[in-house]
């Protein structure tokens, strides 16, 4: 769990320094007007100016020094804590089960790691900033009241006016901003669509036509933009009046006090200064906003950290066995019901069924991308959760319908942490070598600069899983391949290479060539048999029929 307090503790070294600086800075801010006032009085009355001058200079020097130290400490604290939080969050995410991660949207997760982590890392600094933000204006108000209660009251009346204006502003801008965002969205949508169809546009040479179509919302955007400025102009004009109103109110009431001899000219000057500082109360919402953001950021990260990590055991697989996979009374709530299956070691087993019949869940269980709610999955007699992480991933490889490739280069994406030399061998086996060597720099081609079709991506995903020693799980992993490649991979996949293969498929030839077919219906095993025995059943044939688009 990552709590607010824990984040604050993480940066405590820097925070201590920051807190000291902040307190000193608040003290200086509050003391300075009084010192300046007494200096003015001393100058006017021809008294001892030097003392006040030295104190004022020292205070200003201290203010500058604390500002410098605070800036350095704050940045160091936030930067270090952010990096720590980011790594912790990613590490935890990768320790979850695959379906748990999938429950989050990727964009949402990225924004947690890149945005919310920064907000959360400001937990400590925002506390310090808030403390100063509250201390300075409140202290100013108290000191103002100490100089003269009536001045303080005049000030409060002025501040109330400021608050009213700011409220009106937020209300008006939101309405206008909405129209602006809509017009902007229309242009962005047009561009997104055009970029998705860019080959058509390129071939038809209609780029100019597209440009005009996408940009036709620009005048509307402009109109909304101008309206925004008008609203801003109105409110900010009001704000420029309100500032002097506060100051004049304080000076007028203070002037009376000066006339009556209740305060000195220096005190009047100090009062006007405190009024300006006290007006900082209006900015307090901003300071509190930072604190609220830090809290919200922490909560967003905590949502990740409350999910439990996958636990691994200490067992290894028996060396003599050959990849027998056993599902023992396996159930996953509302997806799989009491599945009891044994996949003989070295066999190729096709899993067929309609969409939603539980094929993918079965594949996820076999690769321990998730654990069953009840029952157990055993590889060569050992329950998967008892295996060490290393042993589990060495024995089992898993390829997907839509693989996501990770790594700097194509070669790295295939090896993914393993020996890069093995990547080429794996690529050869799954018919990926021939297209990789046609890329601008072959295996060294940066992944980001490699536009790939779904079929090419699938082949790299297959190559990445090819290292598996005992069990290969293919979840519709060849569905986007063209007819030639599918055929070639099917040959490599279905020849007896000693590994057990669990192949989720929709295709008749794959099912026909597998040793066994597991036919799933609504989360239950309907039949386990070779394809040719199942084929006469019209319901089986219906499962393998294409879904019309």
């Amino acid at each position: 769990m990552t709590h607010f307090a824990e984040i604050v503790r993480k940066g405590r070294g820097w925070l201590t320094l920051m807190a000291i600086c902040s307190l000193a800075s608040a003290g200086v801010t509050l003391a300075l007007p009084a010192v300046l006032g007494s200096a003015i009085d001393a100058i006017v009355s021809g008294g001892e100016v030097e003392r006040a001058l030295i104190i004022a200079t020292a205070l200003i020097a201290l203010a500058v020094a604390t500002d410098l130290a605070e800036a350095a400490a704050g940045v160091a604290c936030v930067a270090g804590t952010t990096a720590w939080l980011r790594l912790r969050t990613v590490r935890h995410l990768l320790s979850l089960s695959a379906p748990t991660v999938a429950r989050f949207e990727t964009g949402d997760l990225v924004s947690r790691v890149s945005g919310n982590a920064v907000d959360a890392a400001q937990a400590g600094t925002s506390l310090a900033v808030t403390a100063v933000g509250v201390l300075a204006p409140l202290g100013s108000l108290i000191l103002l009241a100490l100089i003269d209660v009536w001045i303080a009251l005049a000030f409060l009346a002025g501040v109330w006016l400021v608050a009213m204006v700011l409220r009106a502003f937020t209300r008006r801008t939101t309405a206008v901003a909405l129209g602006y965002q809509k017009a902007q969205g229309a242009i962005a949508t047009g561009l997104t669509e055009a970029l998705a169809g860019i080959r058509t546009i390129a071939a038809a040479a209609t780029a100019e036509q597209e440009e005009r179509r996408i940009l036709r919302s620009v005048p509307e955007l402009s109109a909304h933009g101008r309206r925004l400025w008008t609203v801003l102009a109105r409110t900010s004009a009001q704000a420029t009046v309100v500032g002097p109103v506060v100051l004049v109110a304080v000076l007028a009431v203070g002037g009376f006090a000066l006339t009556q001899g209740r305060i000195t000219p220096g005190e009047l000057f100090a009062a006007s200064r405190y009024a300006v500082l006290g007006a900082g109360l209006g900015g307090l919402t901003g300071v509190l906003g930072a604190l609220a953001r830090a809290r919200a950021g922490t909560n967003r990260l905590a949502e990740v950290f409350t999910r439990p990590s996958t636990a691994y055991g200490a067992a290894t697989l028996p060396t003599s066995a050959s990849g027998t996979l056993r599902f023992r009374q396996v159930s996953v709530k509302s997806l799989l019901h009491n599945v009891d299956l044994t996949l003989p070691g070295g066999a190729s087993v096709a899993v067929v069924g309609r969409s939603g019949s539980g094929k993918s869940v079965l594949a996820e269980l076999a690769a321990r991308l998730r654990d069953p709610d009840s029952g157990a999955v055993l590889l060569d007699g050992i329950p998967l959760p008892e295996l060490t992480h290393h042993e589990l991933r060495r024995a089992i490889g898993c390829a997907f319908e839509r693989p996501h490739l990770i790594g700097g280069t194509v070669g790295e994406a295939i090896a993914l942490g393993r020996d890069p030399a093995s990547a080429i061998q794996a690529a050869r086996s799954v018919q990926a070598h021939s297209f990789v060597i046609r890329l601008p720099s072959g295996y060294q081609t940066p992944l980001a600069q490699t536009p790939m079709s779904g079929g090419e991506r699938q082949r790299l995903g297959l190559a990445r899983a090819w290292h598996a020693e005992r069990l290969l799980v293919l979840d519709d992993a060849t569905s986007s391949l063209d007819m030639v490649t599918e055929m070639k991979i099917a040959q490599a996949l279905l020849e007896d290479d000693g590994r057990t293969r669990l192949i989720v498929t929709h295709r008749v030839p794959t099912a026909a060539r597998a040793d066994l077919v597991v036919w799933l219906e609504e989360g239950r095993v309907q039949a386990i048999a070779p394809h040719h025995l199942l084929w006469p059943d019209p319901r089986y044939r219906a499962v393998l029929q294409p879904e019309t688009p």
Binding site: S95, G408, A490
Partner: protein
């Protein structure tokens, strides 16, 4: 259809500063400055008013005079407020045209790069985020610079009329502090740029890893992936820490320009009093420093150091992308035949060529199918035929009227009519309907609600989008059509209907086949297997192409390698054994039996 002449995209290398300055229109600038004058009034008056209110009013017990001076401040503020209202209105004359221009540049550049085959992933983010940042910071920058000037002039005017000696004390300090601050800007800009890049790099890396979290877990690659992430995380933290130095320098400069004048005025106090300055005048002077000068300097420094730098860094990113060289327009051609002579194409200087010494002649009106594994160069060939790519060597002679219908169908938000008449804007409703009918999109048309229906691309299935693209292309008058797996999301019957509609038009048709059935429909097939390219009729291919034979065997008679095909064919695989056998022996004859073969092949070939 001839490619329309393109406007030059390059507007020359332009620095962000030059661009920003070039967008300052003189008339708007003059208006802005005129409306800034009223704003100087309160700035100039505040110190004088305080001095007189104290000296002539409150200190002498003449409350009325004191209040009158304060009332003058209020009045000046009202006038100033009117001015600032107009100033903000003027800002829209700067910010809005700038934004419009940037939006145009980004959209144009994104399309142009896309057309040139160099897609820009960041274009949409550039449009919605970076352009907005530039617009806001540009306005903020103008505002800050202007506010600094008005405060400075107002304060200076006030000080001159109050006590010119004070001005002489203050100006050098402000100048030194400000110049020192300007000197820190290049460093600050550099650091900010690095931090922005580090941020982007981190977001990209995190995005890649988290998108592929399932794959990382499945491969047990947590540790290497965390190492991959740790690098950008650390780089970003380092870049963030490096931002502290410019911030601290800025604080130091502010100390010189903002705080030092205060100390100097105070220190000179006794001497000034001795020279006859009153209490009110010294208070007025301090008021100018604390209320006029300090906020103005602070605003300008944070404006330049914050918005200003963000403006420069962000605008540079936009200009870098949009100033890039325009891609060469595709060469125009004429006629409706195609001819490739010894064409070689490779994606990089060190990579295997995708096409090697390819000779291909397609006669006008011919129907050719292309088959081969994906990634072997079929789409590259299509792009070369259409002139979208230029081969490394060899010659291409093609008709200018070459139309490519790619796998990813382009449908945009607009009416169905706009979408369908895209390639022939003058088409009548009758012609549009006839085209839709011909390719099998009639049901889709009525389901969507006719030609006036608004299309939302995201709500259509991939197959429906392909139907729209097919109907649109059918309507076009281009003499050559290249279907690059353009029917892959349709079922085999629909695919057959669409292909036959195109073939029946009599135009040259090249089909990059997704299914065996669509290869069998063409009289001539080009087989690309990575080492050889062979274009011939079915009988020749069956005799000379191993890949072709293998392919037919695999897709028409599934069975275990090495087992007796006849046995398997007779068994319940769902295939008519006679059809299968016939295919194996006389693939060439299948052209005539296209429809029959297709029905037989349907189940497996169509399944995806």
């Amino acid at each position: 259809m001839t490619p329309t002449p393109r406007r030059p995209a390059s507007r020359g290398e332009q620095s962000p500063v030059a661009y920003g300055l070039s967008r300052l229109r003189r008339r708007s600038l003059v208006r802005l400055l005129i409306w800034s004058v009223p704003e100087m009034l309160p700035a100039a008056l505040i110190g004088i008013a305080v001095a007189h209110a104290v000296d002539d009013g409150f200190l002498l017990g003449r409350t009325g005079v004191g209040l009158a001076w304060l009332a003058a401040v209020m009045a000046a503020s009202l006038v100033g407020a009117l001015g600032s209202r107009q100033v903000l209105r003027c800002l829209s004359d700067f910010a809005e045209p700038l934004r419009d221009d940037l939006v145009r540049r980004v959209v144009t550049a994104a399309l142009r790069h896309g057309v040139a085959g160099r897609p820009d992933d960041g274009a949409v983010a550039r449009l919605t985020r970076q352009v907005e940042v530039v617009r806001d910071t540009y306005a903020g920058l103008i505002l800050a610079a202007r506010a600094f000037l008005t405060s400075l002039i107002g304060t200076a005017a006030g000080l001159v009329s109050l006590a010119p000696i004070l001005l002489a004390l203050i100006v050098p300090l402000v100048a030194v502090g400000f110049l020192a601050f300007l000197a820190t800007l290049p460093l600050a800009a550099q650091r900010l740029r690095e931090s922005v890049y580090a941020d982007e790099e981190l977001a990209t890396a995190t995005g890649t890893v988290l998108t592929g979290a399932r794959d990382v877990i499945a491969c047990g690659a947590q540790d290497p992936v965390l190492t991959m992430i740790a690098e950008p995380v650390e780089r970003q933290a380092a870049a963030e820490r490096a931002l502290a130095a410019p911030a601290m320098l800025r604080t130091a400069c502010f100390a010189i320009a903002g705080w030092a004048p205060l100390i100097v005025v105070l220190a000179a106090g006794p001497w000034l009093v001795a020279r006859g300055l009153t209490a009110g005048e010294i208070m007025g002077g301090l008021t100018y420093v604390l209320f006029g000068l300090q906020p103005a300097v602070s605003k300008l420094m944070s404006g330049l150091g914050g918005s200003g730098l963000r403006f420069l860094v962000t605008l540079k990113r936009i200009l870098d992308v949009t100033n890039a060289d325009p891609p060469a327009p595709p060469p125009a051609g004429s006629g409706d035949g195609l001819e490739l002579r010894r064409v070689t194409f490779a994606y990089g200087p060190h990579s295997e060529p995708v096409l090697h010494d390819l000779d291909l002649v397609v006669a006008p009106g011919e129907h050719l199918a292309v088959i081969g594994p994906s990634g072997i160069g079929k789409s590259t060939l299509a792009a070369i035929l259409c002139g979208l790519l230029t081969p490394g060597s060899g010659s291409v002679r093609h008709g200018g009227g070459c139309m490519l219908i790619p796998q990813e169908a382009y449908v945009f938000g607009g009416t169905l009519r706009e979408n369908l008449s895209y390639l022939r804007p003058a088409a009548t409703d009758g012609e549009i309907r006839a085209a839709a009918e011909a390719v099998g999109a009639r049901d889709l048309l009525s389901r969507l609600g006719g030609l006036d229906a608004l299309v939302v691309p995201g709500r259509l299935s991939a197959g429906e989008r392909q139907l729209i693209a097919l109907a649109r292309s059918y309507l076009s008058s281009a003499p050559i059509a290249i279907l690059d797996e353009a029917t892959c999301h349709l079922d085999p019957e629909a695919e057959c209907l669409a292909e036959q509609a195109f073939a029946a038009q009599g135009r040259t048709l090249i089909v990059i086949a997704h299914r065996v059935s669509s290869a069998l429909r063409a009289p001539r097939v080009l087989v690309l297997d990575g080492t050889h390219a062979l274009a011939a009729d079915h009988a020749t291919l069956a005799a000379s192409s191993a890949l072709y034979r293998e392919l037919l065997g695999h897709w028409t008679a599934p069975g275990k390698a090495g087992s007796d095909p006849a046995r398997l064919l007779g068994e319940p695989d769902g295939f008519d054994p006679r059809a299968g056998t016939r295919l194996r022996q006389h693939p060439g004859q299948m052209i005539a039996n296209g429809a029959v073969a297709e029905k037989q092949l349907g189940p497996d070939i169509a399944s995806r």
